[in-house]
């Protein structure tokens, strides 16, 4: 009996296992795999073939060097290309005539504007674009030397229903003798197509012209040929432009609202899908997404069930308040791919969250947008809240600062937008003398980095930290001398001795005092700007700029140079001056009084990077340099304007033994110009003229001075390295 029961039991067990095996096919394998995984073995679903070593190469070494054959010569091929790759398949190689830009650098890149005809109506925005080009350093009035042509006809608004639409463009451009099927022409456009589909159609045949267009679609965009520009309003400033709204970094960087949108909703037509769905993510708390139907003439005809509720909610929030207080801003497509929201949120340091599939972002050739915006996907609207919630604080901080950097470098004025467009095309034309992506995407931005000066990052004052290098150990002194050398007792001789004694002064040979002396004869006296010429003799990064009558000690030179090495992008020097706003005159004032702050360091005794010589001579307009030369004055103020405009920072004053130019003028020199009150008035005027050209006041005040560490401290002079600076 017992035995039978045992058999029954065993049998049952066996049945169970059989059933188990039958149902759970592969269970053992799974168990085994679980076990192997637990043993820490790598699961390799791609097998480790036993015959791996015997697998053939993907190509023979000979195959990798396939001979092009002799049939078609490269020249023929290039010609054939030009015939095939036209119009929508245009590239610089096939649709651009490089021979028109044969001269190198800036000289080779000249832009001609067609004269506008009398009865032509030119819109405010297009007028600004043309002004920017005409005032730029690339403008030429002679079509024969032009590399690029810009139409006088306003092509910004190509919506046939718009009042600014210019008809018959096709016939007119075909009449131009220079048109040449649009070769080397640049056409600006902000609006194309019309209701309801807003296609990319411009209403005329652009042929082989380069298109600088807002709301460009990636499919129509001819890469490396067209330029995508941002949509800007007619009120966008011509120059200067407003600063970004970020005045300080708050940590943690989150603002009151996480995400916001406030704008129109389209009840019909293209672009309505995305905006119609926006209300889904509105939670009234940290995500505010508001739309209104109330726009256009007959909105009530199309209105739907949501409209009344939406309109009510819409009125509850103020757009400006949201813009200031939101971390992220939705930038959904409108009728067209780009919208005004883009530049608005960029300026407001509200990180744009793009919902505009297929939009070729502005200046996408050169700007790394993923470091400044969140590129969303219209199809994934509902994921947007969790996506932006997951963005870490560190990244928010970085994205936000980058919005400001890009805004101020490329977008805050029409000038910047137009110049960026031109520079991008110029970089393509002279591709081996062009900016790299690092130059475009780090401070101070590509417009202030001139590749003709150098294409090497280490040659610029801005990138030392980012590259992990430091400026060179030597400087070159440039002395601005106006009086003829007649005696050995002239102050300039003393100055030469003092400076050449500095161990940092660049001295290749023992006998050869390596100073570049700008010996101005009477002829050159009027050329005050020539002290800032990028002379080939200046081989060091640091330039010490001096006047012939400057009184300095060698230790002062040494100390200032060491300070400059810590701040290579700024002017570091001795004599300070200041600017101020005079509310009575409603103008800027200039003062040389002793004050508690300063915004200018005179270039009579100052260190700065040699790149600023180049910028001074090539970036600033001829008009300002002529003003300086005409008056033999203000060149130092202009240099300070330039450097502060580049850095957004004040210059640096260092400690000094004696006050500058307080000494009685030595015998033998003529009466000093700064004793003349007219000289001072000129400087007042200069400040205003310069501010006008820059479009804003770039000078920044500073309240500190950098002294040697033990300066005037109550310790023994023997312990002080720069004790000479304290001798009264």
């Amino acid at each position: 009996m017992q035995a039978r029961k045992k058999y029954v039991l065993l049998g049952l067990c066996a049945c169970c296992w059989l059933v188990l095996f039958y149902w759970g096919g592969g269970v053992q394998l799974r168990l085994l795999r679980l076990l192997t995984r637990q043993r820490g073995e790598v699961v390799r679903p791609w097998p480790n073939w036993t015959d791996r070593a015997f697998l053939p190469r993907y190509a023979h070494l000979d195959e990798l060097q396939t001979d092009p054959g002799t049939a078609e010569s490269p020249r023929q091929r290039r010609q054939a290309w030009s015939a095939i790759y036209k119009d929508s398949r245009c590239r610089m190689e096939t649709c651009f005539d490089f021979s028109r830009c044969r001269r190198r650098g800036r000289e080779g890149f000249r832009v001609y504007i067609y004269p506008s005809e009398k009865n032509d109506h030119v819109s405010e925005s297009y007028r600004k674009i043309l002004t920017s080009i005409a005032e730029s350093r690339y403008y030429t009035s002679d079509p024969r030397e032009a590399c690029l042509f810009v139409l006088g006809i306003d092509t910004l608004d190509r919506d046939q229903l718009s009042g600014q639409f210019v008809p018959n463009v096709d016939e007119r451009i075909r009449g131009y003798p220079l048109w040449n099927d649009g070769r080397n022409h640049l056409i600006f456009n902000l609006y194309s197509g019309t209701w309801p589909n807003y296609t990319e159609d411009l209403g005329f045949n652009i042929g082989q012209a380069i298109l600088a267009k807002a709301s460009l679609n990636t499919e129509h965009f001819r890469p490396g040929f067209d330029v995508s520009i941002p949509l800007f309003s007619k009120d966008h400033p011509q120059k200067g432009g407003e600063r970004g709204w970020l005045v300080r970094n708050t940590i943690p960087p989150r603002r009151k609202y996480l995400l916001m949108f406030k704008g129109k909703r389209y009840l019909t037509g293209i672009g309505s899908d995305t905006r119609n769905a926006l209300h889904h993510i509105h939670n009234g708390k940290d995500i505010v997404s508001l739309t209104t139907c109330r726009h256009g003439k007959d909105w009530e005809k199309h209105k739907d069930a949501r409209c009344d509720h939406d309109n009510l909610e819409y009125e509850r929030f103020d757009y400006q308040e949201l813009l200031h207080n939101s971390t992220f801003c939705l930038v959904p497509r409108g009728r067209r791919l780009g919208s005004f929201r883009f530049l608005e949120s960029l300026q407001a340091a509200c990180i744009p969250v793009l919902l505009s599939n297929g939009w070729e972002l502005p200046f996408s050739d050169v700007i790394q947008w993923n470091q400044a915006v969140i590129e969303g996907d219209e199809r994934l609207l509902l994921q947007v809240p969790s996506t932006v919630r997951a963005v870490g604080n560190e990244r928010v901080l970085a994205l936000r600062q980058r919005t400001q950097m890009l805004w101020e470098a490329y977008f805050s004025s029409v000038d910047k937008i137009v110049l960026t467009t031109l520079e991008i095309i110029k970089d393509r034309v002279f591709s081996h003398i062009s900016r790299n992506k690092y130059m475009w995407n780090s401070l101070p931005g590509g417009l202030l980095v001139l590749p003709e000066y150098s294409t090497h990052l280490a040659h610029f004052p801005f990138y030392y930290l980012g590259l992990g290098i430091s400026p060179g150990q030597e400087f070159t002194a440039v002395i601005h001398a106006v009086s003829p050398l007649v005696s050995q007792s002239q102050p300039i001789m003393k100055l030469l001795q003092v400076v050449s004694k500095s161990k940092y002064c660049s001295q290749p040979g023992p006998d050869n005092i390596r100073l570049y002396i700008a010996r101005f004869t009477v002829v050159f006296l009027s050329q005050t700007t020539s002290r800032f010429l990028p002379h080939v003799a200046i081989e060091t990064e640091a330039v010490l700029s001096l006047d012939e009558d400057t009184v300095l000690l060698t230790s002062e030179v040494n100390f200032a140079f060491l300070v400059w090495r810590s701040f290579p992008e700024r002017i570091v020097g001795y004599p300070p001056r200041s600017h101020f706003w005079d509310p009575l005159k409603r103008a800027w004032g200039y003062t040389s009084k002793w004050t508690n702050d300063y915004s200018i360091i005179l270039t009579g005794a100052a260190f700065y990077h040699r790149y600023y010589h180049y910028l001074f001579s090539h970036y600033l307009p001829q008009s300002l340099r002529t003003l300086v030369d005409r008056t033999s004055n203000c060149e130092d103020i202009l240099m300070n304007f330039l450097v502060s405009a580049v850095t957004h920072l004040p210059p640096i004053k260092v400690a000094q033994r004696k006050q500058y130019k307080e000494l009685p003028s030595p015998q033998g020199t003529k009466s000093v110009p700064w004793a003349n009150p007219e000289h001072f008035n000129q400087r007042q005027e200069c400040v205003n003229t310069f501010a006008n050209w820059f479009g804003y006041m770039p000078l920044v005040h500073s309240q500190f001075r950098l002294d040697p560490v033990l300066f005037k401290d109550q310790v023994s002079v023997l312990r002080k390295k720069y004790k000479d600076l304290e001798r009264a």
């Binding site: 169970c16 188990l20 994934l380």
Partner: protein, 570 residues
């Protein structure tokens, strides 16, 4: 006879007996059955895929054991591939969904050997060593998933690296047969040698619907920007030859041309340059006297003199990479490996990984038309820049060209960056070599902002128990108009902080000044500095000789007119 009685009599009798003797067996038995059923059910309905049959993981197999698939003649051919495809039109982003790790999941089809109706394979080589390396690198990476339902990207195991070895039509049919093909949506193909004679198309000729193409040798007309990925043409020499890294600097030759397949017009042009510039240029060609074979591929000749290739590349500052029949050249990889700056003459060529790599920092691109000006152009580049380019070139090779693994994972990372742009790698991460990454300073607060005075500042005072000096500090600092808040950190667990009125009267506390003079204290601090520097791996502190003072500090000037007259009076 009462059956019921019998049962009733046996029943009670049986149960107690069981209780005592066999209950344990039965309970065990039922438990086992129950557990077995539950377990089976769980395994049955646990999410898993049928395709991922696990037997491959276990045994070592040969490539020839892969299942054979016969393609019917009439099996469908995909469409040619749409030039207007972009991520938002041809890519199914829903498959990639939101994912906290921001990482795409990649599935690799198991290997199959496709043959046509007559049993002829679709490819003359089958799986190549390079493609196998690529797939195993991906399957070892974080991107890999064996779960086909969770995959965002699919990689066929059909090797299309070299179009020459493919039968176009049959390969296309094989692609279309893949179980998840679905018009090529989210499929990624790797191809390095596209096109065939005589025209050599710049993209793979195999019809492929909407599949993404990672191609070597794209031209600007075939490359779908933001959709395709431009990859290098892998050089098999990378695996065979070891070129140790050489310090950047001037080298024996200025320009070197080592390619053997150059159009004769270009060769004539190079000869002319050589005549003008002499020794600075080295113009190599095939060795005519050597027999064909692997050895000849590693030799180059000039006027009977034999040079080792690719070693000779290390002797030159610039190396010419001219287009051959195709735009993409494996020589580019060799040149980069040698730390030689490539001079690329291939109009309309989309450089490898150009979406993320800044080629202007590692190469010189010159239009083919300007070949004759090459020497002048290169001479105008400053020495220091050439050195930086050499370093950059070598770094590009190490990070992105050196192996099929590097090429494959870089491609996936680029696609990953597109799908999760908010987690994309930065320019610096892609382009800075490790030495720069270590030494550079990228402040998280990089924008030059001068914050407004209005919000003021918060003072944080650390104190131990020197209450008197704390009092001094607090009274002084609270005079500052810009002080917004004062925070005292009481760093003493043995004593509670003083309270109320008494708080600054602490007779028992004597000021223990001179703490900082204590020798052991200084030694400890030096040790700290050494410890921190070793953890940072570098000494981040910098020595300067300046300090900040107010503009009129200790100047001979009426104190009344100074903004900060008291500074330095202590």
């Amino acid at each position: 006879m009462y059956p019921s009685g019998k049962y009733s009599s046996r029943g009670p009798a049986l149960i107690p007996r069981m209780k005592t003797k066999h209950r344990i067996y039965y309970i065990t038995l039922f438990s086992v059955v129950l557990l077995g059923l539950i377990a089976t059910g769980m395994f049955q309905f646990w999410p898993h895929s049928i395709e991922s049959t696990a037997d491959w993981t276990l045994d070592k197999r040969s490539v020839h054991d892969a299942p054979l698939v016969r393609l019917p003649v009439s099996s469908p051919i995909p469409e040619r591939g749409d030039l207007s495809c972009r991520m938002h039109t041809c890519f199914d982003v829903y498959r990639c969904g939101y994912n906290p790790k921001n990482r795409i999941k990649v599935y690799i089809y198991p290997l199959q050997r496709f043959v046509d109706d007559l049993g002829v394979p679709i490819s003359s080589t089958g799986l190549s060593r390079e493609y196998n390396d690529l797939l195993s690198a991906i399957s070892d990476s974080d991107f890999y998933t064996d779960d086909v339902t969770r995959a965002c990207l699919f990689i066929p195991s059909i090797d299309v690296l070299n179009q020459n070895s493919l039968r176009i039509r049959e390969t296309a049919q094989a692609l279309a047969m893949l179980p998840r093909w679905d018009k090529g949506m989210n499929h990624l193909l790797f191809n390095m040698l596209p096109g065939g004679p005589p025209d050599y198309n710049t993209a793979l000729d195999v019809p492929r619907d909407r599949a993404l193409l990672a191609g070597g040798g794209f031209s600007t007309w075939t490359y779908r920007q933001g959709y395709d990925v431009s990859i290098p043409v892998y050089s098999p020499l990378s695996a065979d030859v070891e070129l140790p890294e050489r310090q950047p600097g001037p080298r024996r030759y200025f320009i070197l041309s080592s390619q053997t397949a150059i159009h004769r017009e270009y060769r004539a042009e190079l000869e002319r340059l050589k005549e003008e510039n002499g020794e600075a240029l080295l113009l190599l060609d095939k060795c005519s006297n050597l027999s064909q074979g692997a050895a000849s591929a590693r030799k180059r000749c000039y006027k009977g003199q034999v040079y080792d290739y690719p070693q000779i590349l290390q002797e030159s500052s610039f190396c010419v990479v001219l287009r051959g029949a195709r735009l993409g050249q494996a020589a580019l990889s060799d040149v980069l490996q040698a730390g030689c700056v490539p001079v690329i003459l291939a109009d309309s060529y989309i450089l490898p990984f150009s979406e993320v790599l800044d080629w202007k920092r590692a190469s010189v691109v010159i239009p083919e038309e300007k070949l004759s000006e090459m020497y002048t152009i290169l001479k105008s580049i400053p020495h220091r820049q050439v050195e930086e380019m050499q370093r950059q070139a070598r770094w590009f090779w190490e990070a992105y060209f050196s192996s099929m693994k590097a090429i494959g994972l870089t491609t996936l990372q680029i696609i990953n960056d597109r799908i999760y742009p908010y987690a994309a790698r930065t320019y610096e991460q892609w382009n800075n070599p490790p030495v720069v990454k270590w030494s550079s300073v990228n402040s998280p607060l990089f924008l030059p902002l001068i914050p407004p005075r209005a919000p003021g500042f918060t003072a944080v005072v650390l104190t131990y128990d020197r209450v008197e000096s704390l009092f001094r500090v607090i009274t002084e600092i609270s005079k500052v108009p810009s002080l917004a808040k004062l925070l005292v950190v009481w760093n003493n667990q043995n004593k509670s902080p003083p309270e109320g009125e008494k708080k600054f009267k602490c007779p028992e506390c004597t000021a223990i000044d001179g703490l900082s003079l204590d020798q052991t204290h200084m030694v400890e601090r030096s040790e700290c500095i050494n410890k921190f520097a070793s953890v940072f791996g570098t000494m981040p502190l910098k020595v300067v000789e300046h300090r900040a003072d107010p503009v009129l500090y200790k100047d001979d000037f009426p104190e009344k007119l100074k903004s900060f007259p008291n500074i330095g009076s202590l």
